[in-house]
Symmetry: C2
DNA sequence: GTGAAAGCGCTAACAT
DNA sequence: ATGTTAGCGCTTTCAC
């Protein structure tokens, strides 16, 4: 603990003294309070500039209760969906003067709990939770105020909190219908964890769309939305001698795993099997698979805006905002406009 | 500004009162100070538990000068190298009770400057900068203490600060020699920005290795280490009718762009052209290209450990730590042990 | 328009 | 082993 305190340079008191004013006046200046004579303000500003003074956010936070700190909860920043979201969130937050702490919950309740604890201690203003799961109730109780959280990506169980999600139902429906229209009938679906609403919605919509077409055969593999589960699902199907026309992966990460497994087994894409995913990330373009593109950047920006807006709301006027973003089906580069063979 | 202050529940004073002790004793308990009778300690602990009390990190930070906040500076979290690093950094930091704010500098000096400003205000303890560039001098001056920063990934110009980097020189040498040993002679190198030491080191080593083999022809395309620059470099070469045996991309992101461009132009990999990259990320495995694998996780962990260690060092005993991590060449899955044709 | 004073919730000497 | 007393650097009434 040899850390030199006093790291921080000049204080407001220093500024005040050198400018020949009181601390409160100096304070008014740095807060842009109107009740300061221009002349005084200039004098203070000059001293501030000369000293290279900047206010202590900590001291300020102690009295105002605002620390200008947001948190972004994701289960694993390594899943390529999240960096895209994180960048948007971070950019938008920064524009409003907020720092954002990124937290990897690993979809484990204890991690969420620990994070929220640490964050609360550090004066957290609000959180954007992009990976709600079993932790929803506990987080809400720890936060003790619905205004302090906005869910993204995965829809929370409670309707009384704000969220920004993609229209997974519509996206999945469109995707499955597209595959069916290509003549595919035996379609494998690599599902995600059941505690994730987006995974559930996608599967449900897929099932509904499949049910519309006679002769459509549905195979479902359960996974945890990681690359590994994509690879394992494919390996299992192939090992079992299952013949498939197409495979739908719950996200691009899973699609990546499936892609690898298929390539390993010398299955040709898209000739032998058509692979499809969600997210519409660069990686899906690279694999040249069909993908349901999400407006990830908008999701991040809106989540931050919604959060900051409701933080300034009074507890009684607060009404949760529910935003559902449209998705867009992105076909393969060389996708046929229709296909009847098979 | 309708935010309800008093958000924070019970204070230490509340705890003290209910436990019938002074604040200092209560403080000792939460800090695990030894000088407290077990009996007293238990009584206080009981009250703490009953009240759900947790200390205000802000008040604490105001007096101790430690906010338990680290920052990770990257130019773009979307570059797949960084999420891997970020996860390691975040995990290690969390284990020590630190939060980490992720900052996207976009390799722009102004952004670095703004971030450091905001961070400093918020009581930042230290920073891990994984994307140093032109901002080095300014950041050091703003931070005003070399103990508060550890560089990762890109080596800083100054030797008096700590860093953790990969042995890019060795990695690139091994890679180029490998390509040459496969019989490749005309090798295109998609370079990165010259302000990035890792990019410079890789190029320099490549040039040296190429110079060792008579008949080896080197082509260099300059880029900014993004997917786009990989795609553009390839497109330019192909448009110019340049024939290449192999292409080395400065990182996996660039390789991804190159990959896409090659596939678009119906160039077969690896038969027509062998593609190689750095990072050794999942994505490189997926593209099935040769890649110089880096120990990204170790890099993150070591960066945090180095930083936290030197934060507890006194200014005079401080000596920067320079860590260079070994790399490993990962061949393609179906890589030939040697190849003489072509 | 400006200043004085109280206090945010804690830690850290210093007493006892 | 425990309590007392100052602050940490600000904001915020409340006077003037």
């Amino acid at each position: 603990m040899a850390r030199s305190r006093g790291n921080r340079g000049p204080t407001l008191a220093d500024v005040a003294r050198l400018a020949g004013v009181s601390v409160s006046t100096a304070s008014r200046v740095i807060r842009n309070h109107p009740d300061v004579r221009v002349e005084t303000k200039d004098r203070v500003s000059e001293v501030i500039a000369r000293l290279g003074y900047y206010p202590s956010g900590i001291a300020r936070a102690l009295v105002t209760g605002r620390a200008n700190l947001l948190a972004l909860l994701v289960n694993d920043i390594t899943n390529p969906f999240y960096p895209a979201l994180a960048r948007a969130v971070e950019r938008e937050a920064r524009q409003h003067g907020y720092l954002v702490a990124v937290c990897n919950t690993e979809d484990r309740l204890e991690e969420s709990r620990r994070y929220i604890g640490t964050l609360l201690q550090n004066g957290l203003d609000g959180v954007i939770h992009a990976s709600v799961g079993d932790d929803e109730a506990e987080i809400m109780s720890l936060l003790s105020d619905a205004r302090r959280i906005v869910f993204a990506n995965r829809r929370p169980a409670s309707a009384s909190v704000s969220y920004v999600v993609s229209d997974n139902q519509a996206g999945a429906t469109e995707l499955t219908r597209h595959l069916l229209s290509q003549g595919h009938r035996r379609i494998g679906f690599v599902a995600g964890p059941s505690f994730a609403s987006n995974a559930r919605d996608r599967l449900a919509a897929h099932e509904a769309a499949m049910a519309e077409v006679p002769g459509a055969e549905m195979l479902i593999a359960w996974g945890d939305a990681t690359m590994k589960s994509g690879a394992r699902a494919v390996a299992d199907w192939l090992d079992a001698g299952v013949r498939l026309d197409a495979i739908v992966a719950i996200n691009d990460s899973v699609a990546l795993g499936a892609f690898e497994a298929l390539v390993d087994r010398r299955v040709r894409l898209p000739d032998d099997v058509e692979l499809a995913g969600f997210d519409g990330l660069t990686i899906s373009k690279m694999m040249n698979i069909v993908s349901v593109e999400q407006r990830i950047e908008d999701m991040g920006i809106l989540a931050v805006q919604t959060l900051l807006a409701q933080l300034d709301t009074s507890p009684d006027t607060f009404h949760p905002v529910h935003t559902v973003l449209p998705t867009r089906l992105v076909p393969r580069r060389d996708a046929p406009s229709s296909r009847s063979t098979r």
